[in-house]
């Protein structure tokens, strides 16, 4: 049974901070993003429909609810474009595009012709680049040979950098391709360097026109450059536009049924360690979660007696010596353990091949061990060492790969998983942090309408292994008691760290997946993409209406770049007020205090687990990475102060000895016998924007000064002051009464005049809001608003 093993690792890491965020409750409040869709593009650097090859595109819509329409554009190596039919993908589902069928519709003569290969651009309008997960699956016809070519976003910000890789010529008869594609709208000239294992370099210039692809054979290049050995380094450096370049390097041998992917890495030298490393890791660390050890796991279905040769390639990309620590956490039938290799010193630009299989016994790894979690820790510079792992038998027929990645995240989305009569999917979730965390694997099926959730706590450095076939066919209930339909064969999935680090939301999980194909006897892989979060740059609420002297806060609005789920989350660690006289703000927590009426800007910035850097305008690293980056958000705070009152006044209500006031009540508020009348007044407190001030602790006060009366008093009537609490609806009342203690009620000519000053207190501040001239006459109270004339005497 011919077998090829393609391995792709999905790495999900959630960072570990001192405190963890309850992601479950945070997501429970999430809603669809309000960000407006904009054009986005992913590029897979290779597709092929040459004779003997075929390609399919797997497109997953990561959005929570909305459909996503993607237009694939095939580009030949010359850059010539062929736009395929748009594909609409329902939320949470994967759609497969048969490239041959689609190309036949638009350019049938190209199908299965030499030279029918190039890159593919996937164009769509959405809220974030990461809403689409895309992969080009390139297969050799009727062969266990296939490659998983990840699509990545195109960085439009020009900056220098390189693609770094490792070449490997394991045996005679193995062919290879090095593919370099230009996703930019302009020509790019770069330098291709090949290194032998010792770092000896051979350079050549490569010109790439707009959207062009160059496909080279490394074995020929090595020969031409007179480099020796069977492995070494690859570098394709460009002075700018490095983020618009993508590349793949793969090997194949149809005779042996062998294929391998030599993962390449983006390097620009500008990334900082703290942006790429967290969760308690203090050095540049990479993981490969599913290294198949010498004795393969029976679950993968290799023939009895198959012995693998697990191999790790390490390459120092720098011009300095670098020390590397390599450990292997193994597990198998007899348990699990961890083995540390002696510290390795890699010379400048050196590539080293570690034959793990031959030293397994020395390392104390038993023959019963099947899998290894490889951890490579080096120095303080990201990407100073790159690594590739491969594990094949001596013929190359049987084996698997596990890609290295430095990426930890709290949210990953993956492509297709398959479990049927000829396939099974094995998933390993690893905690790369230094504290336990809860991992949630969600499997979506039935067109994204149903889900199955597995939640497990994973100790630091430990792994959760899932044989998906067992879960489906054994009816194992999920965390909600739900079981998979036994007829289920495929779906998509995603992974979350439910306890990411406080503030940054950095997770500490990564994931690897192998799909065993029993027909071909090989293992293919499915890669996940990290999602990260993007600050929308705004806060909720905006504006914040903050009553003076009160405290309040706003919360930045953050978006999950994959799903578009939008929620309020305070990632800001440095809050600043635009005007400290209007609003003070606690720099760490963001608690605001209104000091004086007016508007000002309040916001800040903080480190956040970021998603697609292109969307966020990040100027370092590759857009497809999910680094911790500084992001910001701000909004307007309107400190509200009482400025005026609205008044609704009733007509005159006569009394002939009846009570008036707040009755029954104390005699200071209720007049049991009035011979006269009263009016009911209802005041509403308004702020400077003429909006009602509700839910504010306020009191209303009056100062009444009598200015005249008939009959004249024997001595001046005493001024008085009264205060009451304003209602939560911003209202309070006033009873204007004119009474005599005995009949008759006020007669013509009898009057009482006063000036009433009304003010509102929002402790400790008092705001004058209205002045009334009150004229109690026999026919009723005549109230005149003289607020505009503070000197009014009201006589």
């Amino acid at each position: 049974m011919p077998r090829t093993i393609l391995t792709c690792l999905f790495i999900i890491l959630l960072s570990a901070g001192a405190l963890a965020v309850d992601m479950t409750s945070l997501l429970a409040k999430a809603k669809e993003s309000t960000r407006k869709p904009t054009p986005h593009e992913l590029m897979a650097p290779y597709w092929c429909l040459e004779p003997g090859w075929h390609t399919e595109l797997q497109l997953r819509n990561n959005l929570l609810k909305s459909d996503l329409t993607v237009t694939p554009v095939l580009r030949l190596a010359t850059g010539q474009e062929f736009k395929l039919s748009p594909v609409t993908i329902p939320a949470g589902t994967v759609t497969t595009v048969d490239v041959m069928a689609e190309l036949t519709k638009v350019a049938p003569p190209l199908v299965h012709q030499p030279g029918t290969y190039g890159s593919v651009s996937l164009q769509y309008s959405s809220i974030s680049t990461a809403n689409l997960y895309a992969v080009a699956m390139v297969h050799m016809d009727v062969q266990p040979i296939g490659y998983h070519i990840d699509a990545a976003s195109i960085g439009k910000k020009s900056m220098g950098g390189s693609r770094e890789g490792i070449w490997w010529l394991p045996r005679a008869g193995v062919s290879d391709y090095l593919v370099i594609s230009n996703g930019s709208d302009k020509a790019v000239t770069g330098t291709l360097s090949l290194f032998d294992a010792g770092g000896k370099e051979s350079k050549s210039t490569v010109n790439l026109g707009m959207h062009q692809t160059v496909r080279m054979v490394v074995s020929q290049l090595v020969s031409s450059a007179k480099l020796s050995g069977t492995y070494g380094g690859i570098r394709f450096s460009v002075p700018d536009s490095a983020r618009e370049i993508n590349s793949v390097h793969f090997l194949y041998d149809p005779t042996a049924g062998f294929s391998a992917m030599m993962k390449m890495f983006h390097f620009d030298g500008s990334s900082k360690l703290e942006e790429r490393t967290w969760a308690g890791n203090t050095k540049w660390t990479q993981w490969a979660p599913m290294l198949a050890l010498k004795n393969p796991d029976p679950i993968v279905g290799f023939p009895q007696g198959t012995t693998l040769q697990p191999t790790i390639f390490l390459r120092n990309t720098t011009a300095q010596s670098v020390n590397a620590n390599v450990s292997i956490g193994w597990h198998g039938d007899s348990g699990q353990g961890k083995a540390n290799l002696p510290v390795l010193t890699l010379n400048p630009l050196e590539t080293r091949k570690l034959d793990i299989g031959s030293v397994q016994q020395q390392l104390g790894i038993p023959d019963t061990a099947h899998w290894g979690l490889v951890t490579v820790t080096t120095g303080a510079t990201p990407d100073d060492v790159i690594a590739v792992a491969a594990s094949y038998d001596a013929t190359g027929r049987y084996g698997a790969q596990t890609p290295f990645s430095d990426q930890l995240a709290d949210h990953w989305t993956g492509g297709l998983w398959q479990v049927d009569s000829t396939h099974n999917s094995i998933i390993a979730v690893t905690n790369g942090g230094t504290r336990p965390t809860d991992a949630l694997l969600t499997f979506l099926y039935n067109g994204g309408k149903d889900k199955y959730e597995i939640q497990k706590t994973i100790a630091p450095g430990d792994q959760l292994w899932l044989n998906l076939s067992d879960y489906i066919h054994n009816g194992i209930p999920d965390r909600n008691g739900k079981v998979f339909p036994t007829t289920l064969t495929a779906g998509t999935y995603e992974l979350r760290d439910l306890k990411p680090a406080d503030k940054t939301l950095s997770g500490s999980l990564f994931e690897g997946k192998i799909i065993a194909d029993k027909t071909w006897g090989h293992l293919t892989y499915g890669c996940m993409i990290c999602c990260g979060y993007g600050s929308l740059g705004i806060v909720d609420p905006d504006p914040l209406g903050l009553p003076v002297t009160s405290n309040g806060s706003t919360t930045p609005i953050v978006q999950d770049n994959c799903s578009g789920a939008q929620f309020d989350y305070n990632f800001i660690t440095a809050w600043v007020s635009g005007n400290g006289n209007i609003v003070s703000v606690d720099p760490g927590g963001g608690l605001q205090t209104g000091l004086a009426g007016g508007f000002t800007n309040v916001g800040g910035n903080g480190i956040l687990a970021s998603g697609d850097g292109e969307d966020m305008g990040l100027d370092r690293g590759h857009p497809s990475q999910c680094p911790q980056m500084n992001q910001s958000a701000n909004g307007t705070t309107n400190v509200r102060v009482p400025t005026s009152l609205t008044l609704v006044m009733s007509g005159r209500i006569d009394h002939n000895g009846e009570q008036i006031g707040i009755c029954p009540g104390p005699i200071s508020q209720c007049i049991p016998h009035c011979y006269g009348y009263h009016h009911d007044l209802s005041y509403t407190v308004l702020d400077q924007d003429a909006k009602v001030m509700t839910n504010t602790t306020m009191t209303a006060s009056e100062h009444v000064h009598f200015t005249g009366s008939n009959p004249p008093p024997s001595h001046p009537l005493a001024d008085f002051d009264k205060t009451v609490a304003v209602g939560t609806d911003g209202k309070f009342g006033d009873i204007q009464a004119f009474c005599f203690g005995a009949p008759p009620p006020p007669q013509a000519g009898e009057f009482l005049k006063a000036r009433q000053d009304l003010s509102i207190t929002v402790s400790p501040n008092n705001y004058p809001v209205r002045i009334n001239c009150v004229d109690d006459e026999s026919d009723g109270t005549h109230l005149t608003d003289v607020t505009a004339n503070p000197a009014a005497t009201c006589q």
Binding site: S668, C670, I671, T723, V726, F740
Partner: protein, 222 residues
Amino acid sequence: MGMKCKVLLTAFLTFSCIIARAQLANQPVAPLKIEESKVSSALRKFSEQAQVPIGFEEDLNKADTPLKISLTTATVKDFLAAVVAANPNYTWVEQDGVINVMPIHRPDSFLDVTISKIDIMEESNQDYNDVYRFNAYGNLLHTPEAKHWSERTGINSRIMLGTSILVPGQGVEVPKVIETRHTLTNVTARTYMNELMKLTKSYYWVYNLYGNGNQYFDLQMN
């Protein structure tokens, strides 16, 4: 001091009555300078400055002699002596712990009416505002003795209240006011006013007649 202060139920009123008696007039006062055309105005100003409770019954039979009083070292008694020296139609007594200034000739004054039973309400919030006082006057004027006096003399009260009662808004907790009833028996209207003034921590009350035929009387306190 022929009036008898009889206090029931409230030790507070009894105590204040006893302590104040005979001590108020000798109380030293800060240097003062008062120039007023009317006795009422001078007394009111003095009561506020010296914080000495004074009740005043106006004499309608004689116009006031303007007062120009300047004292550097003095007692309450010295000030009162200056007032009555300029206006000899007035006299004063210290009664119920209150200085009572009144006309020497005051036939059938309402303030001398004896009330058999009357209540004074003490409020826990101490909010003895204009409404409280208006009600307190009403409490006095609605007694049978007061009504009988009005019927007999043809002089009626015409106490005016123009007020504003602020009403708390909805949803706010209003502190509860506890009222304590103090019952006075067989006290004159004057004593009632004196006790009311002390309870409310006021310093001045005034009683006067007005109207074309002096057919109305008024009570004010502040």
